[in-house]
Symmetry: D2
Subunit: 350 residues, 4 copies
Amino acid sequence: MSSKLPIGILGATGIVGQRFIQALEHHPWFEVAWLAASDRSEGRPYAEAARWRLKTAIPKDVARMTVAPATPKGAPKIIFAALDASIARELEPQFANAGCAVVSNSSALRMQADVPLVIPEVNGDHIKLIDTQAWRRNSGGFAVTNPNCSAIGLVLALAPLHRAFTLETVMAVTMQAVSGAGYPGVPSLDILGNVIPYIANEEEKMEEETQKLLGTLSGSHIDPAPFAMSAQCNRVAVEDGHTESVAIRLKKKASAEEIIAAWNRFHAEPQQLRLPSAPEQPVVYMTAPDRPQPRFDVDLGAGMTTSVGRLRKCNVLDWKFTVLSHNTIRGAAGAALLNAELLKAKGYLG
Amino acid sequence: MSSKLPIGILGATGIVGQRFIQALEHHPWFEVAWLAASDRSEGRPYAEAARWRLKTAIPKDVARMTVAPATPKGAPKIIFAALDASIARELEPQFANAGCAVVSNSSALRMQADVPLVIPEVNGDHIKLIDTQAWRRNSGGFAVTNPNCSAIGLVLALAPLHRAFTLETVMAVTMQAVSGAGYPGVPSLDILGNVIPYIANEEEKMEEETQKLLGTLSGSHIDPAPFAMSAQCNRVAVEDGHTESVAIRLKKKASAEEIIAAWNRFHAEPQQLRLPSAPEQPVVYMTAPDRPQPRFDVDLGAGMTTSVGRLRKCNVLDWKFTVLSHNTIRGAAGAALLNAELLKAKGYLG
Amino acid sequence: MSSKLPIGILGATGIVGQRFIQALEHHPWFEVAWLAASDRSEGRPYAEAARWRLKTAIPKDVARMTVAPATPKGAPKIIFAALDASIARELEPQFANAGCAVVSNSSALRMQADVPLVIPEVNGDHIKLIDTQAWRRNSGGFAVTNPNCSAIGLVLALAPLHRAFTLETVMAVTMQAVSGAGYPGVPSLDILGNVIPYIANEEEKMEEETQKLLGTLSGSHIDPAPFAMSAQCNRVAVEDGHTESVAIRLKKKASAEEIIAAWNRFHAEPQQLRLPSAPEQPVVYMTAPDRPQPRFDVDLGAGMTTSVGRLRKCNVLDWKFTVLSHNTIRGAAGAALLNAELLKAKGYLG
Amino acid sequence: MSSKLPIGILGATGIVGQRFIQALEHHPWFEVAWLAASDRSEGRPYAEAARWRLKTAIPKDVARMTVAPATPKGAPKIIFAALDASIARELEPQFANAGCAVVSNSSALRMQADVPLVIPEVNGDHIKLIDTQAWRRNSGGFAVTNPNCSAIGLVLALAPLHRAFTLETVMAVTMQAVSGAGYPGVPSLDILGNVIPYIANEEEKMEEETQKLLGTLSGSHIDPAPFAMSAQCNRVAVEDGHTESVAIRLKKKASAEEIIAAWNRFHAEPQQLRLPSAPEQPVVYMTAPDRPQPRFDVDLGAGMTTSVGRLRKCNVLDWKFTVLSHNTIRGAAGAALLNAELLKAKGYLG
């Protein structure tokens, strides 16, 4: 019998659910024990219920698992959630209330005052918010979230600069991959040979999540980071990888060398604790003049490393650069998994 | 015998050269009379020398024309130039010196102090710089240029706002079509499923050209517009149409309604003079929340209309919006053609 | 008041419905008078109900029309139908039964013995089958269909050869555009950088429809053409235009020149009657070694001309060649419209 | 000091050259010792000379290697060649003549009577042709080739059927990835949203190579396989992976089960000898109705497994099916590497 911790996945048939299953296939601590999805999938073998969209094959034992109803009854104590926000808003509290550790990728609870929104390299200390949750007191359950796929790469690139030089202003324009919209997601007739300059609610999420992530834990709440932040979000014909053109102003002026060093040297608790999914380098600066590019760089660090490039002076703010991050790994399933690993390392998973 | 003015095209086999030929097929004032291209093409019938990349067929009479050597001897007095900058730097002065009106799409002379860089709707008065050119005095020849394909759509969107409210700051991030790089241009292995966050010299051109175009003619030179301007340029897998995410700060504060009205009401000399290639509306604001998009909107106004959308508040500057412009029509061949039409209307073409 | 014949469109919000509206905008004989779609759209203005996916704008009067319920009550006598097969199977007979002329693009009734499956240039005489329909006798109504988008280009290319040289064997492999699957249709995650070697039921339709179209009217039924026919269907990342690699064996041996002449000279009733949507040349042979290509040739003859190229010897059968046809114009809306024009010319539309 | 055999690569900067370097990074028998490319690259560090287009990084020691002149002087005894045919025709004999074992991916020598054209799983015995080469007698050098990227996947799928049931007729239509054309290769303006129904000389190569590969060694020459073979070749907007729609007629009739079993059970010398690059299963039949697909299946068996699917009856020949093979791994660098491994196992590499 396995000594690994059993994991349940809510929303197991979607793109992020599939990435959870892929990431857990050879995981040293966790194993997939329970899968739930929409009513339509319930009772069917996973391999039939899911339209698998990854290059690696469905792990054989998972392929045969029967999709369970999406209720806490019979579910394991640790739940990875990859649900649409509207469903998550209803289901995630049910699971937390039933005593589950809900590690969520959805946006439903991210901005709730007592729910930590966490990137382990950036604000692992926010996890303490768990102790203020009513679920925690009542049933032992709790909820932790990771940010939107467009915010996480940006925040990983900003965090070392904010620590060292203090951000005053951030402007980001995204060019986001279609996998960020799930499956079936973006119709091909909408995106072939096209750019869509709009993703519903995405700019608002990026702006408020960035400030919460770089904010300060103050007793039982987070003071958002006080810098000004503006985002513009576009969809492009890329399968995986969100690219972002970023401009920043810093309070403490810094040279290009200092900024690049801050990125390359950046590491934090996940690296020190050697969490299984932590990349050796969370942020890498690429020196080639035309990188990073999603087609070639998205899988860096098994999709967990954020790549940065093209640092150059800005005529309006101080600096401009390009950020690339894998939107369904570092921006979704890998983010939640790393959160779970941090939770386990800190003793929250029993 | 035709009473139309004979036109010569330098760089006739490239993508912009093809667009010139396409645009002149049924032109009421001009007709193609002479085609020149690289040595490799010289002496061959145009249909063989060019790798035609447009949906409409090569006009039959042009197909049979023989590609001439790229020297002023035997060339008509009006030359449309679509050359690489390095070649243009050498050839365009030769033609101006020989008495030709050189209407150029290349970047070679754009920033030269006595060469007008013109968008007829924006700064048609800059054409007077011609009178300061040595070529003009010596031979009657002169050179006029149009801006880079990434600058022109932006400047058309900015001009009405700059007039009414005065720009203080402009930040633009582009997502540019592959046709902007000519043919063969961007290899498919570089752009399929990818974003390239770099186009050589493009950001510099966008920044300085925008300020020259919105600058003020002061005697024999242009005072560049004094606002701060920063550009970031990306290549995406789109055939035609540069999309740009723009943020601006205005000196005189304006409401969304006032800004949209400034765009929709914008018209200028080309519309008043009913120049043949002038679009009825140079700028159109699209109200749908997810437009403009290159796939659907690039051909607006026969490719001469710039479309704008998504006007919304910016947390850092004042306003954010999206601009789309056809890069090989309004951004290249159509731009030069409209310049030529303005020159004719103003009596510069004899 | 208009003297044009009022047209109703069933399935007006889909891609083919949109193509009907586009094609009818300036039609000399017909005008859009009534639009119906799914329950979800009913009662809403068309511009809101449809997700318009074409480059030309929605005609203004159509934009304001209210989407009607999909029942014969209140519908005009001529109905263009662009419904999914499952819905068409139910609705089309209702409209025919109510006295409507149903000109359908769906597959529901195509293979029904008394329903003509027609390409006006190929088998206009099959229209007489109408007279055998019970609907016709009972209410005056009737149904006429056009073939699948993958069959129609092929059959236009085959018809002149079958007439002149008699087909013995046909093998076709398709590379079909995503617009053939409607909207939202093919998810971008399925097709970016991909080929899907499967389209449900498509091969069966191509095979049986080709034989019915090239078959012979014999009293009250069609004897299918007796040649052997095999199809393989693939989906590729192309917006519009089905490309097909075809190989054939002919009973009467023919030279390349004879075959090409048969294509280029091919014309029939629609051309003789000068039907408004009939292309001047239904089939054009392109001599360039690498044409036709969807990106450049799909709009030939306003999307109604089938282009053929690369005729060369086959080691197994006699000849190989490439066929290209616009799948939502000649392969759908344009096909039905041309059928309607033929019906009017023959007196079937009152 | 390494005990691995030193390998030289001719054409090291191209796409196939890069795949050689990638495949040799952790190879147990061979190591990259010498790199040559065009004059333009000579004398420069490899990392500067090559435009690296793969997702994995350039191996560090290779990155620093200096590109050597493309002459046998100073080159190792084993040469992997990835040259354009015109250059290969000149250089490959020079190296063989100088005593090198030339393991070539180019088409230059493939059809030369005394040069083995080999797929180790299919016709490893053809290697004996080496002994008839003049180079071998004179200097010990020799040349061995692997087939065109479009032929190899097809032949791997055909070989088990030819052995068991004897092929009478083969028809194949390809949809080939852009990486097959090298770098810069296919311009993006040619292939975005497009299909190109032509690849120069490709159909001829597929036809003659297939027959040589499945032919019989008879003393000092190969009798080509006597079945009829016809190919049609198309380029599509796919990065890696050639998909083919195939139809065959068999002499000995077989059921679907027998055919599928022949594919799945197929293995040969490379599997028995456990050659390092041999896939466990050279051919895999996929049961899903819409597979194989390049986006999801191209990397099967580290790019060395050919996947087959959609076996179904053909109305003209006996059977139809779809084949997918990685064109720059199994179709180029991996093919040559497996040839080299077989040569070493058979004692040809000293």
